[in-house]
Amino acid sequence: MGWRGGNRQWQHYELAYLVLAGISTPLVLSVHSVVSSDFATSVIPGWHTTIFPPYFVAGAIYSGFGMVMTLAVAARSLYNLKHIITVNHLDKMAQIMLLTGSIVGYSYAMEFFFAWYSGNQYEKYAFINRALGPYWWAYWTMIFCNVVVPQFYWFKRFRTHVPFLFITSILVNIGMWFERFVIVVISLHRDYMPSAWAMYSPTIWDIAIYLGTFGIFFTGFLLFLRFLPMASIAEVKLVLPESNPHHGEH
């Protein structure tokens, strides 16, 4: 393909990389704000709240780091990359999960407060139903996985214990799945009109599609691991202290 490793090529590469990163970062924020507004611009009690854009953005980052942590712990063990994906990296990822998990936990508390403070009977009922109604088990699983579990990451002992990180990152993903379940199912199954209230149970096709999404994700991920470099060696070398041209100077 003509790659020489010459600085003239590196210059173009680095600038293109920077521009793409600079556009993608606001894109992450805007995508989840827009997606959350699909819910927030409706009238369903429990959905029609302005906290959704920051809540969904923080939740997406939280869920994403959980997923990355699960895959990174698995890949580094299976492919002997422990010196490249280090425990220090996992520690930093856990700190970000602590931050975003705390924002998500704060959002849960604020939603409850808004519902109470608003005096709106439908909004108040929507939240009482979440905690005490027929789907209470989904709600409390979500609270445990998203609020309680990341608090362990305050302690370095837990942030650097790799099996604990693996298990808790899976719990985080489970918690975020339940958050989406709570938002979508619990708000919909009992909204304004009691005669329209019903219980949701998944059909075999819902479950099949869900398992299929795991399949397509892991197919893509495993193909990536098989055919593409798992870690970019140039980027690893770039951040070593020896590759700084001013290393060793006073």
């Binding site: 600085n7 003239r8 590196w10 293109a16 521009v19 060696i233 980027e235 020896e242 041209p245 290393h247």
Partner: protein, 78 residues
């Protein structure tokens, strides 16, 4: 026999950087520095101007976003 070009090998990035600065200051334009990873500061050491590829990538990407938004709203009404 005419000398077509000169190639030199350096042991570490700072030697490469200082060599690039001296070659730039001596007035040479048609040279390049090869490395397995990008070396910080080498763009200035070689006297290179800012790459225009960044503008191309940025404008293409932003235009693509606008076209996407237009297509998803107005495109169905053409």
């Amino acid at each position: 026999m005419k000398t077509y070009g000169i190639i030199a090998k350096f042991d570490d990035p700072s030697a490469l950087l200082h060599a690039a600065e001296e070659v730039r200051d001596a007035g040479f334009k048609n040279f390049d520095c090869h490395s397995p990873f990008p070396v910080h500061g080498l763009d200035d050491a070689m006297g290179l101007k800012r790459s225009r590829l960044g503008y191309v990538i940025g404008s293409v990407r932003i235009n693509r976003c606008f076209i996407w938004i237009w297509a998803s709203n107005m495109g169905s009404f053409i």
